[in-house]
Structure formats: structure tokens, C-alpha cells
């Protein structure tokens, strides 16, 4: 009878307790973590303990409102060096997810990808390729795409063969207090609307920060991005992107490159030691057939930034152009394209900087441009009042200091 009693109480105990506590490194860690990610319920916090975890397969999360939490950057290290499966280290496809406090290393494809994952928070993360900048590294470090309401803060990415922090085809975005180094592009906002990029450091990339709008994608018409209070300095890693990718065309030493897009405001950033130029404002320069696409940068405001030396050794397609301009490019370069196909647009590019800040309009006129037909001018475009987009607010995260 005592044994029956014992059995009953053991049953009750087993029923009452479910396994929890942080996952520890070990041979079963992958299965434990992936199981917990799959079995998670909304509101769950899945903890990963300290240590290095060697995973041979990618992780994935498809449950809404789950937090994946490590013991801290460089404390919880997920290494994908031996990865044989899946295209990324971690794939998130659900809404309301928070990723925080861990390091991802050497994933074969992208580091962390979140697709169609609204209200996501990337916080206190590190994504790195430990062999340094190499074309074999994965394309993107953190990669939210086709999502609404994205917060990326205190994230460090290094070694990405495309963009370290990349936000694509998304809406309502904050990237702040983050660091991107030794990537082809440090931070890239592509085909997205309403993005605030501030208080970041972009250094030792080929290009520091990129704001692009590209054709032939489901979401186009990028607009309303503010880039402010960033340190965009010493972007000097030779472009190591595999050819064919659009960022392979980013000249080494581009501080901030703005391509197509509308209503982009750049202010109070610090630029220094970017050898091609501090700021490039360009039209999309390839032929395209997408009739919905506008390749021109429109309504750009550049004001109140601080510029150190730069433009002293232009790279990429600006290399051939430089001799005609005395071997150097000024701080701010606009290609002066206002026409594409048979369409001409009013292109407003406002430069409200001190007179000593260098500026050039290459006067290329039409895209695809012919660099031999440059008609440079130092005349600043007429000032125009272009309303700045309101500060981005994120319903799912405390937005903190709004900046300006």
C-alpha cells in the first residue's frame, strides 16, 4: 500500500513539474533548444545558459510572443561552424519575438533572419564571422524582412559578406546604439519605409550605412528614413562582397550611400576617414524594366553633420572619375541624375551645411548614367523646405530617447 501511495505521489509530482531552466551546452543542447522553440507557448521565455554551443543545424522559431534569451553577448555563444543544414543560424517567422543576450558565430548563410515577423526586438546581440571579412561568410548578420515594427538595439555585427544589419521590405523601424564593423555594408535599409537609424557606429566596413531602393522586388518605394547622430568613420575594409550582389558595387570607403528612395534626412552624424566620399547620393544605375520602380533619389535633406577628412582616394567607379576632379571627392557627392527612360522628375536634394563642407553635383543627368558625360558643378541646389518624417514609435517596445 505504501508503494501505491508512493506511486501516486510521484505521478502527481511529475505532472506538476515541467522541465525548465536555461539550456546548458552539451550533445543534446540542439535538440533541447529546438524542441523548446517548437513547443513554446505565447509568453514563454526560453533561456540559453552560458557557454559555447556547437550546432550543426539551424534553429527556427514559429510561435508568437516568445523571448529567446541568453546569458549575454559573448557569454552565450551559438557557433554554427559545422553547420550542414538550413540557410541561416536562426529563422524567426512569428510575431512579437524578442531575441536578446547571445552571440551567433559563423553561420553558413545569414546569421538571424526574421521574415514576416512583426513587432520583433533584436537586443544585446552579437553576430560575427570569426574568420574576419571573407566572401565565403554569410550574407546578412541580422536580417528582418517583410515585417512591421522592428527594433534593433545594442547589436554588433562583423564579417557579413553583404550587410551587417539589414532591414528589407519592411515598415516602421528603429536601428540604434548598434555597431557594424568589417562588413561589406555596415547597416542597410532597403526597400523600406519609416526608419530611424541613430546613435550607431559604422566603421571598417566597405560602406558604412546604406539606404537603398531596388527594382524587381515585391515591396518597393522606400521612403521616410532618418539617419542621425551616427559615427560613420574609417570605413576602409576593401569590398569583399561576391560579385553579382548589389553591394559589390559599393565603393570601398563610402560613408553613407543613398540610392533611389524618397524623403531621406541625414543630420548630426560624424563622418571621418571615408576614402571614397562621406556621402553619396545616387540614382539606381542599371537598366530595369520594372514599371513601378523609380530609380531617383527624391527629397533628400543633408544638414548639420560633422565631417573630417575623406574622399582622398576614391574607389570603385569613382576611381576613374577622380583625376578630373583633382584626384579627390568632396564630402558630399550627388550624381545629378534627374531623368530615367523618358521621365524627368523634380529631384530635390537639400544640402544645408557650412560653406566649407565640400559638395559636388556630377551632373550625369540620366540613368543609366555615362560617367564620361559628367558635367560637374559645385553649385548647391536651391534650399527647399522638406518636411522631416515624424520620429518612429514602436508599439511593442519602449522607444526611449527619440533623438530629435
Amino acid at each position: 500500500m505504501r508503494s501505491i501511495l508512493g506511486a501516486v505521489s510521484v505521478l502527481a509530482l511529475v505532472a506538476a513539474c515541467s522541465p525548465s531552466g536555461p539550456i546548458a551546452p552539451g550533445p543534446d543542447a540542439y535538440t533541447q533548444l529546438q524542441t523548446r522553440l517548437q513547443d513554446a507557448k505565447a509568453g514563454d521565455v526560453i533561456e540559453i545558459g552560458e557557454g559555447t554551443f556547437n550546432f550543426t543545424n539551424g534553429l527556427s522559431l514559429d510561435v508568437d510572443n516568445v523571448t529567446l534569451k541568453g546569458a549575454g553577448q559573448d557569454k552565450t555563444i551559438l557557433s554554427f561552424k559545422g553547420q550542414t543544414g538550413a540557410g541561416e543560424g536562426l529563422l524567426v517567422t512569428s510575431d512579437g519575438v524578442t531575441l536578446t543576450g547571445f552571440t551567433m558565430q559563423d553561420s553558413k548563410g545569414d546569421g538571424i533572419k526574421s521574415k514576416g515577423a512583426d513587432n520583433i526586438i533584436y537586443r544585446d546581440l552579437k553576430v560575427e564571422w570569426t574568420g574576419g571579412p571573407k566572401a565565403e561568410n554569410g550574407a546578412y548578420g541580422v536580417y528582418p524582412v517583410e515585417s512591421k515594427n522592428i527594433l534593433i538595439e545594442r547589436v554588433t555585427v562583423s564579417g557579413a559578406s553583404d550587410a551587417g544589419i539589414y532591414v528589407g521590405q519592411s515598415d516602421n523601424i528603429i536601428v540604434r546604439n548598434s555597431r557594424a564593423e568589417y562588413n561589406v555594408a555596415g547597416i542597410e535599409i532597403e526597400n523600406s519605409s519609416r526608419a530611424d537609424v541613430y546613435d550607431n557606429v559604422a566603421t571598417h566596413n566597405a560602406g558604412g550605412i546604406l539606404v537603398f531602393d531596388l527594382p524587381d522586388l515585391p515591396v518597393m518605394g522606400g521612403n521616410s528614413t532618418r539617419v542621425f547622430r551616427n559615427q560613420i568613420v574609417e570605413n576602409d575594409t576593401p569590398n569583399f562582397a561576391p560579385p553579382g550582389n548589389i553591394v559589390a558595387n559599393v565603393p570601398t570607403g563610402s560613408g553613407l550611400m543613398l540610392l533611389a528612395n524618397k524623403n531621406v534626412h541625414v543630420f548630426e552624424n560624424t563622418f571621418d576617414k571615408n576614402q571614397t566620399a562621406h556621402i553619396l547620393v545616387l540614382a539606381y544605375s542599371y537598366p530595369f524594366e520594372d514599371e513601378k520602380y523609380n530609380p531617383l533619389p527624391r527629397d533628400f535633406v543633408i544638414r548639420d553633420n560633422t565631417y573630417g577628412e575623406g574622399g582622398n582616394d576614391p574607389q570603385g567607379r569613382f576611381k576613374e572619375l577622380a583625376p578630373a576632379l583633382g584626384g579627390k571627392l568632396p564630402a558630399i557627392v550627388w550624381d545629378g541624375v534627374t531623368k530615367y527612360g523618358d521621365k524627368t522628375e523634380e529631384v530635390r536634394v537639400v544640402v544645408r551645411e557650412k560653406p566649407e563642407v565640400g559638395y559636388i553635383n556630377l551632373g550625369l543627368g540620366v540613368t543609366p548614367p555615362d560617367l564620361t558625360k559628367a558635367n560637374p558643378s559645385m553649385d548647391r541646389p536651391a534650399d527647399a523646405q522638406i518636411e522631416e518624417p515624424a520620429a518612429v514609435t514602436l508599439p511593442h517596445a519602449e522607444t526611449g530617447k527619440e533623438g530629435v
Binding site: A12, A16, G85, G87, A135, Y140, E146, D162, G244, Y286
Partner: protein
């Protein structure tokens, strides 16, 4: 044996509460209803029971019988519908449920409540506590032992009745197991097959195949469909048929020692189920044991080393990957919905493994309704249709589950479904979006006339994670598919490269 500890604890607890409430409530109303359980001394001191009391006593007794038999039977039925009708599991399950109540009755009600608490109101009028003292532990323990025997008998009844009550008995697919919220622990729980090795089909399970299958590292595939008896999937000329709730698509992946004879000494690796429940489709993978007698639910998937000879006669070593639940959805998604890929009219419309046209056969069996006489069909990728049509048909089944407007690769803007009409959409002079090193130094997804400069070809001939496509389900090169795509691109008239 499958024991669901949580459910046993819950149902046992519920039974204990119900029984305690019934006993204590009746005693509160009239302790004389339990007169025959009192010591002889008390019984004899009481006036005989009135007719009303006798009637009430019988009702209480009947209720107790109902609770004590009904609960274990009901609980075992739940277990059977969730986990199948294994007699031993059902017996132990029902017995433990009863024993929780039996133990509570003995320790809490008898020993604690009556023995220690000695409530005045549990005694008939005129009986003093001293009349029932000393408390006889032995008598109550004997009652507990008797209860144990009774619950063993009840468990026997429950184990015999539950399979019938749950519908989990007999042959054929078990609707209750198929539609249970959680997947069954074993493939055999569903009843799709007559034998443990899953070679013999149960009634209501129909084999089929596809005109163009997805390449999965040369794995042999056996596909079956089950549609609930008396119901039919609704025909759709474009999309996957609209299957009724309770339908299941079953696909077993297998390897033989020599894939030139794929059925000789074939071994099953995994069986995947797509189950249509009321809230949508659900995907579950079951991994076969080395003895080939049982397949167990594997939510996290797994990897297996396979050594075989390819259909072309080459030695082949494969790190075969069994997908986890999220990976199932990576391919089987339509926006946020999980969905089957294969069973649509144009890929089913040919003579299948039963030697008859599948669409007509399904209609004849009554599992498909509304099919026209001339449904569409895709050309076989390796048949004799025009090259471009075969290439597009191959791309659709191998790529379009992700590369479509509402698929996993929608953000790439590369759409490889059969109906894409824009050449840029299917890759002609389309620049890569997020290919990274997957571009292989090429500028375009397809460079007409130049397969060696086309990203599409580069990713099909790679076996490197992060480069190879499709991302899941392939670790070796599909030579025949690759040749097809190469020749297709080669034969496209070269166009001037779009250089700036």
C-alpha cells in the same frame, strides 16, 4: 505502453473530488444513508430506515457507481482517442485513475476526516462519538483493499470499452486519433496500415504519385491519401484540392541498398503526415526504428547516414535530414497557412501506381468531387514535351513551394511557379536580392545562353549549405534536374548583357 501521467493525475484528482463531494454531501444531508457502513453497535441502536431513506440510499449508491465506473471509462476513452487502443495502456491508465480516488477515499476521507476530524454531523442522530470509538484502522484498510479489487475490475471494463467508445477500434484509419489535438506517439496509432511495417494498406488509404516529384536526395517515396469515409475533396483546377477535415496525406521516404532496384530490400526512413484538421493542415514526421517495426513521432527531426548506390549506379553517401516541425512549414506554406504541395490536378493527372488515371480514380472512389473530364496536366520533366515546358515544370515542383508570391522566398522576387509570366520574375536578367555568396560571382539568376554564368545553375550544382538550393531536403546534386535546367538556359537566345 503509453502512459499519460498528466492526464492520469488530472482525471484521478477529478474523480477523487467528485466522489468526496458525493460522500460528504450525502452524509451531511443524512448520515443514515451510510448506516450499513457503521459498526454493528451503531447500526443496532438506530431505528430502521424509512422507505424514503431507502430510496435516497439507492440513488446515492447508483450515483457512486456511475462516478466510480464512468470516470475511468471516460478517461480511458480519452486516452484511446489520443494514443490508440493498446489494451495494457488503457487498463493501467484506468486503474491508476481509480486508485488515486481510492487512496484519497482511504487516507483523506476515512483516516483524516473521520478518524482524526471526527465530525459530529457525520454521525446519525443519537449516536455519540464514543459509540464509534475506537476508530478501526483495519476495517478502513480492508475497505481500501476491496476498493483496489473493484477498481481493477472497473479498469478491465474501461480497457475493453474505451476502444469502441473512442472509435479507435477495428481496422482502418482512426478519426479520433487523426483529429486529436496532439499527434499520436506512434505511426501505427493512426491505423493507416494493417501491419507494423506499414506495407499493407488499411481500407480507405489510396496510393498515388506525382507527375513530377520533388528531388529528395534520391529517396524513394510512397504516397497515400486518406479521405474520411463518405466525404470528398473538392476539385480545384489550380490549387491543391480542398480536402475535408480528417483527410491525411501520407508520404514515406525510403532507401534501398541499390537505388537502381529501389524496392529490393527497401528500408523506410521516415513517414510524414499532413493532417487536415478543423483549424488547418498540420505536419508531423515519424522516424522508423532500425528493426522497421515502428515509426515514432519526431518533432525535432533528425539526421541519418545513408549509404547506397544512386539510380545512375554511383556510390552515394548521404547525410539524410528529417525535417523538424518548423522546417515542414518552411516549404509547406502559403502565407501564414500550412498547405500540401503535391496533390493538385496538374501534377496528379496521369496513370499512377494503381495503373489508372489518378484524377478519374479518385473521382470513382468518391474521394474527389467536381473533377472535369479533362483536367490540366504538367509535362513530365523528363518526358518529350518542349524543353522550356519541362524546365518550368521541374522548377515548379522543386522550387516554387518557396519561390512564389506568398512563399518562404517571396522577398527574393524570384517566382518559379508554373504560372509566372514575367521572364524577369523567373530569373532572366534578374539580379540577386539576398543571395550573398550564393551568387557564385554571377550577375544574374539566368543569363540566357550561359548556364555557367547563371546563379540558378550555380545553386543547383552546389552542395554547400548557404549556397545550395533548395535549402532543405537536398544534400547531393540532382544531375538530371541540373542537366535539364542547363540545357534550357543554353538554348535561350543570348541577349545583350544589361551592363551600366
Amino acid at each position: 505502453m503509453t502512459l499519460d501521467v498528466a492526464q492520469i493525475a488530472l482525471h484521478g484528482g477529478l474523480l477523487a473530488i467528485a466522489a468526496s463531494a458525493l460522500i460528504m454531501g450525502s452524509m451531511r444531508a443524512n448520515p443514515r444513508l451510510f448506516l450499513r457502513h457503521f459498526p454493528a453497535k451503531v447500526r443496532e441502536s438506530q431505528p430502521p430506515l424509512t422507505a424514503g431513506e431507502k430510496g435516497a440510499g439507492r440513488i446515492v449508491g447508483l450515483l457512486m457507481l456511475l462516478v466510480f465506473v464512468g470516470f475511468p471509462v471516460w478517461s480511458a476513452t480519452m486516452h484511446a482517442s489520443k494514443h490508440g487502443a493498446d489494451f495494457l495502456s488503457l487498463f493501467v491508465h484506468a486503474f491508476l485513475v481509480g486508485m488515486i480516488a481510492n487512496t484519497v477515499d482511504w487516507l483523506i476521507l476515512d483516516e483524516l476526516w473521520l478518524g482524526v476530524g471526527k465530525p459530529r454531523w457525520a454521525l446519525p442522530r443519537g449516536v455519540a462519538p464514543a459509540d464509534v470509538l475506537p476508530f478501526e484502522h483495519g476495517r478502513h484498510f480492508r475497505a481500501f483493499l476491496t476498493g483496489t479489487l473493484i477498481f481493477a475490475a472497473i479498469a478491465l471494463i474501461a480497457a475493453l470499452a474505451a476502444p469502441f467508445l473512442s472509435g479507435a477500434s477495428g481496422s482502418g484509419p482512426r478519426a479520433s486519433v487523426i483529429l486529436a489535438e496532439d499527434p499520436a506517439p506512434k505511426l501505427s496509432d493512426y491505423g493507416f496500415f494493417k501491419d507494423a511495417a506499414a506495407r499493407e494498406l488499411a481500407e480507405g488509404v489510396t496510393p498515388f504519385d506525382l507527375i513530377n516529384p520533388l528531388f529528395s536526395d534520391h529517396a524513394g517515396k510512397h504516397r497515400f491519401v486518406h479521405v474520411p469515409n463518405g466525404q470528398a475533396a473538392k476539385y480545384d483546377a489550380e490549387k491543391v484540392f480542398d480536402f475535408p477535415v480528417g483527410s491525411v496525406l501520407i508520404k514515406t521516404f525510403a532507401f534501398a541498398p541499390d537505388m537502381r532496384e529501389p524496392l529490393k530490400d527497401e528500408r523506410y526512413i521516415e513517414t510524414r503526415l499532413l493532417i487536415r484538421k478543423a483549424s488547418g493542415w498540420f505536419a508531423y514526421a515519424y522516424i522508423w526504428n532500425p528493426e522497421q517495426t515502428e515509426a515514432t513521432y519526431a518533432p525535432v527531426g533528425g539526421q541519418q547516414k545513408i549509404h547506397t548506390i544512386s539510380p545512375d549506379g554511383d556510390p552515394l553517401s548521404i547525410d539524410y535530414a528529417i525535417p523538424n516541425r518548423n522546417q515542414c512549414k518552411t516549404c509547406h506554406s502559403e502565407g501564414d497557412e500550412l498547405t500540401p504541395i503535391g496533390p493538385r490536378a496538374r501534377n496528379l493527372n496521369h496513370v499512377g501506381p494503381l495503373g489508372v488515371n489518378q484524377v478519374a480514380d479518385w473521382s470513382g472512389r468518391g474521394i474527389l468531387s467536381g473533377a472535369p473530364d479533362d483536367p490540366p496536366a504538367v509535362p513530365s520533366a523528363f518526358g518529350d514535351a518542349p524543353l522550356a515546358d519541362r524546365a518550368r515544370a521541374w522548377l515548379e515542383i522543386n522550387c516554387a513551394h518557396c519561390h512564389k508570391a506568398n512563399g518562404g522566398a517571396s522577398n527574393s522576387g524570384l517566382f518559379l511557379d508554373w504560372h509566372e509570366t514575367d521572364p524577369t520574375g523567373w530569373g532572366v536578367h534578374k539580379r540577386p536580392t539576398a543571395a550573398g555568396r550564393g551568387s557564385g560571382d554571377n550577375l544574374f539568376v539566368i543569363e540566357p545562353g550561359h548556364p555557367e554564368q547563371s546563379i540558378l545553375v550555380h545553386r543547383l550544382e552546389s552542395i554547400e549549405p548557404g549556397v545550395l538550393m533548395p535549402e532543405l531536403g537536398r544534400t547531393v546534386v540532382d544531375r538530371h534536374g541540373l542537366d535539364l535546367i542547363r540545357r534550357w538556359i543554353e538554348e535561350m537566345p543570348a541577349q545583350p548583357a544589361d551592363q551600366p
